[in-house]
Each structure stands twice: as structure tokens, then as C-alpha cells.
Amino acid sequence: MIQTELVQKILATPLRYGADFAELYVERWQRRGMRTINKEVKEATSGIELGAGLRLFYGTDVVYAYTNDLEPESLLELAETLAKLKGQGEVDAGGAGGLDFRKESYIGLHAPAKPLEQKDKRFRLERLYEIDEGARVSDQISQVEASYLEWEQDVLVANSEGVWAEDRRVRSRMMGLAIASNDTDTQTGSNNLGLSVGLELFDLKDPKEVGRYAGEQALTNLRAKRAPAGTMPVVIGNAFGGVIFHEALGHLLETTSVAKKASVLSDKLNEEVASTTVTYVDDGTTPHGWGSSEYDDEGMKTERTVLIDKGVLKSYMVDKMGGMKTGYQPTGSGRRQNYTYAPTSRMRNTFIEPGDTPQEALFEGIEYGLYAKDMGGGQVMPGTGEYNFGVKEGYIIRNGKIEEPVRGAMLVGKGPDTITKIAAVSSDLATSAGMCGSLSGSIPTEVGQPHLLVSEIVVGGEA
């Protein structure tokens, strides 16, 4: 992607001006996407993104620049301009010109079994038609939107400590959105599958199944009554149910906020912060996981990080700068959307580990409660852990049984409180793909959990 000698020169320049550390990140993306409504192509797009980011440390101060002008002269000029922005003048004419890199490259842990170039665009379009067909489970399905995206990202990270890591990330994702209507109402349902795979995505799950799930959910919501309001026990569904803990717990464990004491979970290592039923893991190595990669965006090999072990806080998610500020060892968690962002500590594939309670047993003994089978979007304040999330598919639990569907329910609470109230965790761990937005942009992450019971959550619904 870029010559070694040029990288050496670029990294040497800031060191000459007094930087403690210099890192170059270069990437090239090739993306394609398409979206249909009722089998008509509404959008089909392709794009190339190409750029470089240069990051310098002066103690714990950071200077970052990015550009998509990758001409050698332009990059060298950028390095010099940036170095002078913060530097105190030339300090050592020798610099790191002879820097020896420990060159490492991906070995294809998440490489596609069916490369993207194996089939043409028409093949992908036909899979979207299948999502559409699968979603039409009733005459009440009035519209189906199906979409697909794929990207190939080639990354190089090199730094003044000799790191040289090349990674290749291939991801693909299909989504189905169904709209159900009757004379008085319109409701939606959705489903998706996103993985670090190629065209085998369509073999791993039948597109018709993605559509069918969305269609059934839309129908359920169409017949659902308004959710009740009150404080009650809630069983949260597996897979995307994990979004609550991603937002209201995971983000609180990133050193980006921990280092600034801007998280209620700062300085709590080895303290009991959750119910003993909870083991919370962030794993960048999950084979073909949507949030997996062989190296993070700082050139460190990714790893499996146990954040909370049986209720006790064991680790934060640590990027390089977060490690410098807190003294914790980096965990391969430095991530960024693309070259326009400096990396920060971020989640990869984050989930609550399976417990040993059978799923049916979670509902036993609940006189009146809510089953949040699938979750929607929400908001969280990372400094306080306060959250509110919409329930995408919900049911009333009455005398231990799942009964009528309800819609419009909101779960309201504080993440750190909610994890202390997890009473039981079942064994049916499942994960789901999402895009997580934070300081270093929007990145692919998996959320996940088994079905679990929270003894009480405030449910917002109809008065």
C-alpha cells in the first residue's frame, strides 16, 4: 500500500521535533451496497475510500491529522506541518530514520470462504428478492425493504516503536424490514445478519428466514396493544437484547471515559459491580464475528477480554493512549471508523456468557412482567449509565406464561444498577450485528447475550 522507506521518513519527522511516539495508519476500502423496496432497486452504490491518518503523542497530548492525498511529498509535508504544530523545534537531527519494523500480516482467520468477486451484482439482488419473498407472511405485509452491503478494507498500521501490521477485513450484511398495515395502523419488524464473511453469508442463513422473521415481527406488532407502564420484572431476549448492556455497561468500561473519571465504573477493578450471574466478555477474535479483526487499528493483535467475571470487574477495554493514562495493559481494543478518526478504546464482539438456567425457568414465578424479546434503539449517558431503550417486540408475562404482545414499551434505568438486578441467565447465547457510534466514529460491533431475567426495570408505556 505504501513503501517502507516512505513510512520510515514520515515517522522520523515528528520524532525529530520532539514527539514521543508517531503512528501512521493507511487504509483503502471498497464498498458496495444495494437496497430494494418491494423488489425494486432503490439504491445501488459502490465506493472507494482511501486515506491516511498520522497520530503523534507528546506525553499524553495527542496530535492527529488525516488526508486522502497519499502522494509521498504530501505525506512528508503533512508530517512536518503536524510536528511543528505542537513540537518545540528540531531536537534530534538523527531521528528514527533507520527504524526497523517487525512486519506482521493477517493470516486469514476471518477470510471469506466465498470471495466477493465470485458472483456478480445480480446474484446479490436475487438474495434481496428472497428476503422480500420470505417477509410476505400475510396479506397485511404492505411493504418490504431489503438491503445488503459488503466491504473490503485493507489496513496498514506502522509506528515509531517498530509495529508494522497489515490487516484485511471483509464484511457483509443483509437486512430485512417489513411493514404491516391494517385499516388503522402501521407497524414494522426487522432482522439482519452481519458477519466477517464473503458471499457465504447467504449460506449461513437463508435470506428468506431473515425476511420471515421481519414479517412475523411486523404482524405481531400490528396486533399488539399498548404496553403498560410500571416497575416490573423483565426477561430480555437473547442476541440484540444485549444492546442495553452494550450501551449502558460496555461504554462505561472503555478507557476513553474511565481515564477521565467520566464513568461511574472508574477505579472499580476487582470490585463486585454486577450480579454473580454475570460474566461479560469483549472478544475481538470470534471467528468471522462482525466486530472481529486480526489486528486492532493500532496494530495490536486482538484478544478476548473478560471484563466482568461472575460479577467482579476484571478489566477495562484499553487502547494505547488509555493504557498510558491509566497504567492498564492495552487489550487490542483501539478502533476507529476510518482514517478520519484517531483510534480510541472501543468494543468488538461483546456479550454476556451463558448461564445454567433453562430458558423456560426464567419465566417461572413471574406473576406479572414484560418479555422484551427483541430490542430497538435507545439513548445512554455514559457518564451516568442512565439509559432508555425501546422494545421492538414485547409480550406480557402473566403467571409464568408469555401472553399477549405489547408495543411501545420503553426500558428505563441505569446500567450499573440493572446489572446488579440480573437474577438469572439462561444458556442460549446468541449475538447480533450492529453499528456502534462513539468518539472514533461508527464501527461494526456485535452485541449478545442469552435470555436473562432482570428482577425489576422501569417500563415506560401507556398511562
Binding site: I37, E40, L50, S142, A463
Partner: protein, 357 residues
């Protein structure tokens, strides 16, 4: 190849391939300064640009984009755009007739100031937030400025561009009182650096955060609700998208068949004006080169118009309102410029407020 050369090259290649093409290019410069504990913790400076292509062949429309300006990349873009067009079943696509659009400068010297002054604005905001004894942490305080050059050319004769920009201060404040902990994000967004008010922004954020301290859960029920302007803009997001011609065309708008009908309170008039004297979302023309114009969407509660680009206007048989919006990476969409709820005379407002719910 420069952006101007790349645009010219793409137009020539498109013409020789028998394609109608529109080339949208954006080049931008960004500076961001982050203050933490009164130090400049992070400086980011950047230049970025890209080219987006829309082609039409046989009434079918396709898109592709690139940030790489090699001949190979530009060739790939045209090939992909043409392939993407082939997938379309709609054969009613077209590029609007173009015109010379000139070149406008909407920010002039608005961002001219030494970097030290800009860093000081971020420090002043952070310092202001830390002055209150209830402040627990100020995890983020950032000054950001960006200027961009937008250029548009098409095989139908559109040719022009404009330079635009903005500056803003963004911060996050966490306040504590006893066990109560509250966090707020807020920003101060202006067209010019010197219009930013870090001190006033700090006071506003302290007021906004501190009044939530000790808040108790509200009993579920039906209430009369007073919206501060900034809170109401969030609520507006829930229904403004239904005023988009694209949403109407895709069958997702509840307003679809309500033109000329009452859809809101008679106190509610909603306007989009891309030509406001001090508008922050001003633009001389939209992403297809349609000159900007003022648009009344809802007048005294009656739905008067949807937002349209050339495609949605033609498909629905309505007037193009000049609201085409796209970045070089995206497909043609719709976007407002300066969207606001018109003021209402106080006597009307009081009458509405005092009437039974």
C-alpha cells in the same frame, strides 16, 4: 490528478461512453482542538475530498464514488455506476437540465483567527463549566471548524460551486449533587469563529444540567408538556422525514395524501429557507444545481408542500423545491437547509396554552 482535473476527466469519459453524468466533488479542511483540564489534549487537522458520480443510461440511474483520483479508480467508478444503473427497474431516471451556477463564497474570512485564540475558546468553555462546585467532570470540550468547497458539473450543462463553513464548540458536562449524577451534551454552532460564545455556552449548560439534579421519576400519566426550542427540534425529527418527497414516494409517509389538508395545530407554520441572512444551513443551490428558494411546508396547520428533488417532483407530479441533497458518497436524497417553526403572536400562544387539553 486534482479534483478539477478528475471532474473534467470523468465528464469526458462519461460522454464518450454514452452516459449522462453528474459529478459532485467536495474538498474540505477541518481543524479540531480538544481541551481537557485546561490543556490542549488533542489537535486534529485534516484535508479530505471525494468525487461522487451519478450516471443515467436508458433512464436507469446508478451511483459510485471515490476518494482515490488515479485513472484506474476513476475508470472503476464509471464502470460501477453504469453497472449499478443496470440493476434498476425504474427507467424514468434523468438528469435535470443544468445551468451556469457561478461560484459563491458563503463564509469569506469567517474562520480567520490564530489557532491560539481558537484553543482559548475551548479552554474558556471548559473553565466555565468547571467553575460550578457541583461539576463532577467535563469529559469532553472541543472546538471544531470546517470549510468545504462543493463543485458540481454535469453533461447537461450544470457548472458551479460554493465555499461554505462553520465553527462550533461541543462539550459534555457531568454534575453531581449528593447521589444524583446528571450528564448533558451541548454545543454552540456558528458560521463564524468570532460569533461563538464560550462563556454563555458554559452558563447555559450548567443551568441545563443542574436543574436535572435531584430529579425524581415522573408518575406515568398524560401531561401538558412545554418544549424548549432545542427539545422540540428533536421531536421534529420524528415527523419532518415524513415531509420528504422520497419518503412519500416510498410509501412511508402518513402525510402522503394530505396536501392541502390540516395536519397540525393552526398555530403551527413550518418553513425552510436556504437564503436566510444569517442562516447556518444556507446554500445557493442544491446538490443537483437547482437554485435555492424559500419553501412553506405547513402553513397555519395546513400541509402546503413536500420537500422535493428533481426525481421525486417528477414522480409525484409536483414542483421541484430545490431540496436535493447528497454527499459524494451517497445517492440522491432530500435535505432541508434552515428549517424552522415560525413565531406565533403571544396572544394566540396564550389562548392555546390556557385552553383545555
Amino acid at each position: 490528478m486534482t479534483f478539477a482535473e478528475a471532474r473534467k476527466y470523468l465528464l469526458e469519459q462519461a460522454k464518450s461512453a454514452g452516459l449522462d453524468a453528474e459529478i459532485l466533488a467536495t474538498e474540505s479542511r477541518t481543524l479540531s482542538l480538544e481541551s481537557f483540564e485546561h490543556k490542549l489534549a488533542q489537535i486534529t487537522q485534516a484535508t479530505q475530498g471525494g468525487i461522487g458520480v451519478r450516471v443515467v443510461k436508458g433512464g436507469k440511474t446508478g451511483y459510485a464514488s471515490t476518494e482515490e483520483r488515479s485513472k484506474e479508480a476513476l475508470g472503476w467508478v464509471l464502470k460501477e455506476a453504469a453497472e449499478n444503473a443496470e440493476l434498476q427497474s425504474d427507467t424514468g431516471g434523468f438528469l435535470p437540465a443544468g445551468q451556469a451556477l457561478g461560484h459563491k463564497d458563503l463564509i469569506s474570512e469567517g474562520l480567520s483567527a490564530p489557532i491560539e485564540e481558537k484553543a482559548e475558546a475551548a479552554h474558556e468553555l471548559e473553565g466555565g463549566l468547571r467553575q460550578d462546585e457541583r461539576t463532577d467532570q467535563v469529559p469532553l470540550t472541543r472546538y471544531t471548524e470546517s470549510e468545504s468547497e462543493v463543485s458540481l458539473s454535469s453533461t447537461q450543462g450544470a457548472e458551479g460551486g460554493y465555499r461554505n463553513g462553520y465553527a462550533f464548540l461541543l462539550s459534555s458536562l457531568i454534575m453531581r449533587q449528593g447521589e444524583s449524577l446528571k450528564q448533558v451534551y451541548d454545543f454552540n454552532f456558528e458560521k463564524e469563529f468570532h460569533a461563538l460564545e464560550p462563556g454563555k455556552t458554559a452558563l447555559k449548560m450548567i443551568d441545563k444540567t443542574s436543574r436535572m439534579l435531584g430529579a425524581k421519576p415522573l408518575k406515568t400519566g398524560r401531561y401538558r408538556v412545554y418544549f424548549e426550542p432545542s427539545a422540540f427540534t428533536q421531536l421534529m425529527g420524528l415527523f419532518v422525514f415524513m415531509l420528504s418527497g422520497k419518503t412519500v414516494l416510498e410509501g412511508k409517509s402518513r402525510f402522503a395524501d394530505k396536501l392541502g389538508q390540516r395536519v397540525a395545530s393552526e398555530l403551527f407554520t413550518l418553513t425552510d429557507d436556504p437564503l436566510l441572512p444569517d442562516g447556518k444551513g444556507n446554500r445557493p443551490f442544491d446538490s443537483e444545481g437547482t437554485p435555492a428558494q424559500t419553501l412553506q411546508l405547513i402553513e397555519n396547520g395546513v400541509l402546503k408542500s413536500f420537500f422535493h428533488n428533481s426525481a421525486t417532483a417528477k414522480a409525484l407530479g409536483q414542483d421541484n423545491t430545490g431540496h436535493a441533497s447528497r454527499s459524494y458518497k451517497s445517492t440522491l436524497g432530500i435535505g432541508p437547509s434552515n428549517l424552522f417553526v415560525n413565531r406565533v403572536r403571544v396572544s394566540h400562544w396564550k389562548k392555546a396554552l390556557l385552553s383545555p387539553t
